[in-house]
Amino acid sequence: MKQKLGWRYRLAVIMVILIFLAWPAGAGQAAHPFVQGYVEGYLKEITLPPAGGEGEAAITVETYGGEIYRLKLSLQAVLAIDQRPAKPADFKPGMEVYARIVNRQATYVEGYSTMVASYLPPGGRVQRGVIIDIEGENLIIKDYAGERRNYYISPATVIMRQGKLITPGLLYPGDRVKLYFDELYSDVVGRMEVEGNSVLVSGLYRGKLASVDTSAENLVLREVYIWRNGRWQSHAGIMQIPYVPEIVPFAGGQKLAENRMPYYRGRDVYIITKNVLGRERAVNVIFKNQYESVFNDKIADINWYADKLELGDKNNFTLHEGSVVIKDGRLQDKMILGSGDDVLIIADGRGLSRLANIIYVYNQSLNNTKNGQYYILAGRLDQVTEYRLWLKDYFVLGGNQWESFRGSRELFFDHDTAFYDGENRILLSADQFIAGDYAVDEESERVKKEGLKDWYAYLYVDGERVVAALLQPKMDSLLVQRVTTGTVHKVVQDELAGWTVEMRDGADFSPARGQWMPRTAFLRVNLEKALLIKEDKLITPEELKTGDRLYMVRDDFFGKVIVVK
């Protein structure tokens, strides 16, 4: 009997041990939400008593296993959906939820609803700033907090200026832009909006401050001079000019508070203006501290650590926070300055201690940035076939002067290419150009019989594509031609000469000195036989506007290729 009991006893003990071994440690206890501290599953119901009413706030959850739990909601309970704060009404039955439980009460309830994580609508991220540089696909801007940011443009990037599509080659450093990104973490710009003509500097004035009205944001100057054609010219006895709200005046290289300006009454002040919303407004105000001097030379060296600039004539200047740099008609970051730039400096100081208040950079190129692929070519039309042409013994305008090349150069054109027959003063379509006798086989009988010869062309090209072409039967002497820049003062239809543009603030490139030489007088240029191009389109002289900036190849009075910048 003893033995039997012992056997049964042993069997029972073994069974109990086996059961304990087979049972996962604490499984029974951990399965209960009150023990594990949370419950997750589907929401059945969430109830809250009315404000000030009786009853308890509770949540009912059906776990993935099918058990149903009703939990009291703690008074401090936090409700959220996808980590965002939510109200009880935002929770819907059937929604997946997680509830954290403390002391048998739900202290945190989170529902899950969003299908696509981190989604942002296309263009949902916006960055504003000023272009500092563009090189290849790399776009560097300075945001309005002064921070430099690096982004990328792709062939798919939509770039618009004043509602019109433009190519990256038409962007300038100094352009104010709005960048739209289609993805949250992408640095590739999806769409770019570029400020229009309001970005351009419209005037540089010097006068004596007569009064300041800070409430109306107006300055009154007397004895006002305007910077025109490389010198100060008398402009007005009195001039009232509004200033932009964000104005930061400077005196002696130091920032001034707006309300300190009245203390500078009677002092000479430099005003830089832009046309903003129908009015000319001061965007920079710099008070003269000591004595003005004006220098015109190449930059020899810049020391960015000491903010010092040296010209070719060994004059040194200090750059300050308020130094204004103007290039391509735009206000620019100081960092665009470089050795070799042809500049005009309006300085303030005495002896060898001078502050560079205004730095005007004359350098201009056909290409606004390193990205540009625009060139002007001239040469004999050797062969024209469907959408292709060959120039023979051609010239390329590089570094603002003509360079000759032997041999043949193949280029492409299309139905958007503009052909202007300068001899007959007619516009041609691509088909008319192909069908015309502009490039002939001089050995053929018909050509010999009719005395035809190859024509010559000035071509404005973007890479290998001809944007516009000026056709003429004879080649000009390119040696007498020069590259000139300037701003349209007025466009007139002269009775004798025809359409003529009068330019101000011009500069000619001197190949002998390798330097831009400012012009000190207005310059008239005839447009009748000129190729006039704006934003890759041929335009008529009537479409030129006062204030347009021009880059041109001219033969004395006659414009040849004129590009509106």
């Binding site: 965002r84 704060p85 969003t114 994580a117 989604y119 907090a145 004043q162 919303l277 129908g278």
Partner: protein, 504 residues
């Protein structure tokens, strides 16, 4: 029971009035692209095929009654160029019907023309407006600190020329974008007009009709009506005074219009097909700035403090209630003071203030949802309004945390909710650009993301946001002043400069 219903109806009316303050008449400029100030109105008329500038007087009236408003424009104008004989008289009344969706915090405004009369004389031609079809609707998102609106419209004007000589039809379409808050309002209209004229020229002999002429032209008009209020410091001119200077609030209002036209080239009544007249005309009018002097801050302990300017600006706006001579800028800001300052600085209406004006009524004592802000407290009205408008939600369901220190995450969340911008954040799962992104609590993440995007905040030197860092009174003041600048300057720049100067 009747009494209860009356109280309920009154409360609903009151809430509606508080949530939806009357929109200014400036929010509904006419669709002709005219600009005006207190003295003069200017507009360009293109019906003759030439741009002709008219100037003269305009009177506008805006009346609002419950859900209806009327805007009336009356103008008598003459060509600015005295060599052109002509006049323009116009009376137009627009009726606006508001559908206020308090549950969504939005309003739909449907606009109709209820009466019109327009006659334009230009040299020998008389244009009479025979019919004016107009359809417009606008959605207004009523957010606590500002209303944002967007509208679309379509219109057609039929004119007769010299009664029987022909017709001029002007098809007009366009859109409106704008905002209205205490610190600024801007309405930008982008208008496209297509003018179609078909007429018979007078014959050489009396009673004889001449050649038929027809032409089409287009005019794009960008029109902006904008107001902003700025705070400026004015030094006291005298030394021997009890204060050295103080702030003034300046209200500036400006209207701008830019016409870009493409018209036929008409010579002696005949249209030259080969040429077009293209050009741009800009008009701008400023109203005289309105100046209000504000109370003078007199603290002993803010002089030379890095946040002195911001503190003094806010004090001038009367947003700090204590009468102490010490601001204690480096002490922590508490949640109640911040919410009160925001409500006051943005002129966000609070229920209690209006109740006083409507007279006392015996009502059952209100029960505060928060234990720490009893309904008898002076601060209750601010907390209640902020809660109703979704600006705050309390630290828990029954605890606002009025005396608790304000953290950066809380401050940013309150400001972004006041703007109603939190919905512009990406869907969850994203991370912000701050180095300590993982420390930003879920409830604040959208607000921190948005605040960074709109430049309300930036990171510290290590590019951290520091969400749990307690804000000092000085830091909170600077953040509030930046918020006011956003309402005043950033919105204006976005709705005016960026729409007009970048897109058109």
């Amino acid at each position: 029971m009747k009494k209860r219903v009356a109280v309920l109806a009154f409360s609903i009316c009151l809430v509606v009035c508080l949530l939806f303050p009357a929109l200014p008449a400036a929010g509904y400029p006419d669709i002709n692209g005219g600009v005006y100030n207190e003295y003069e109105y200017e507009e360009i008329v293109f019906l003759s095929g030439e741009p002709v500038k008219f100037t003269g007087k305009v009177t506008t009236s805006y009346k609002e009654k419950e859900n209806q408003a009327t805007v009336r424009y009356t103008m008598d104008l003459k060509p600015e160029n005295e060599s052109i004989k002509g006049k323009l008289s116009r009376q137009v009344t627009y009726s606006i019907n508001y559908d206020r969706r308090t549950d969504k915090g939005q309003t739909i405004a449907d606009i109709k023309v209820t009466s019109f009369k327009e006659n334009i004389d230009l040299d020998k031609d008389k244009y009479k407006l025979e019919d004016f079809q107009f359809s417009s609707s606008r959605i207004i998102d009523n957010r606590p600190a500002s209303d944002f609106y967007s509208g679309t419209w379509s219109a057609r004007k039929y004119y007769t020329i010299n009664k029987t000589e022909g017709t001029a039809v002007v098809d007009i379409s366009g859109g409106t974008a704008g905002y209205a808050n205490f610190w600024g309002t801007t309405t930008t209209q982008l208008i496209e007009k297509v003018i179609t004229v078909n007429r018979t020229l007078p014959g050489n002999n009396k009673g004889e009709s001449g050649e038929k002429v027809g032409w089409q032209g287009t005019v794009k008009i960008d029109q902006v009506d904008s107001m902003r209020k700025t705070l400026k410091y004015e030094e006291n001119k005298a030394d021997l005074a009890s204060f050295s200077g103080g702030h003034m609030r300046i209200t500036q209002q400006n209207m701008y219009a830019r016409y870009e036209y493409d018209l036929p080239y008409i010579k002696e009544g005949q249209v030259e097909e080969s040429r077009r007249q293209q050009g741009t005309i800009e008009l701008s009018k400023d109203k005289l700035p309105q100046i209000e002097r504000l109370i003078i801050p007199k603290f002993y302990d803010t002089g030379g403090h890095w946040a002195q300017k911001s503190i003094e600006k806010l004090y001038s706006l009367d947003v700090f209630t204590d009468n102490s001579s010490f601001f204690v800028p480096d002490a922590p800001m508490n949640r109640m003071d911040f919410v009160r300052a925001l409500m006051k600085a943005c002129d966000i209406r609070v229920e209690g203030e209006t109740k006083k004006k409507t007279g006392s009524r015996k009502q059952p004592a209100e029960v505060s949802p928060f234990q720490d802000v009893p309904s008898t407290s002076d601060d209750y009205k601010y907390v209640k309004s902020a809660l109703e408008k979704g600006i705050v939600s309390g630290m828990s369901r029954d605890f606002f945390g009025a005396k608790e220190n304000l953290t950066r995450a809380q401050a940013v969340t309150i400001l972004v909710r006041a703007l109603g911008f939190e919905h512009k954040a990406p869907t969850p799962g994203y991370y912000t650009s701050f180095a300590d992104d993982e420390k930003i609590p879920g409830w604040a993440k959208d607000s921190v993301y948005i605040a960074r995007e709109i430049n309300l905040i930036s990171g510290d030197t290590s590019y951290r946001f520091n969400p749990d860092k307690v804000m000092t009174r000085a830091e909170a003041s600077v953040m509030l002043v930046r918020f006011l600048e956003f309402l005043e300057k950033d919105l204006q720049k976005n709705y005016r400069e960026e729409i007009i100067l970048y897109n058109r």
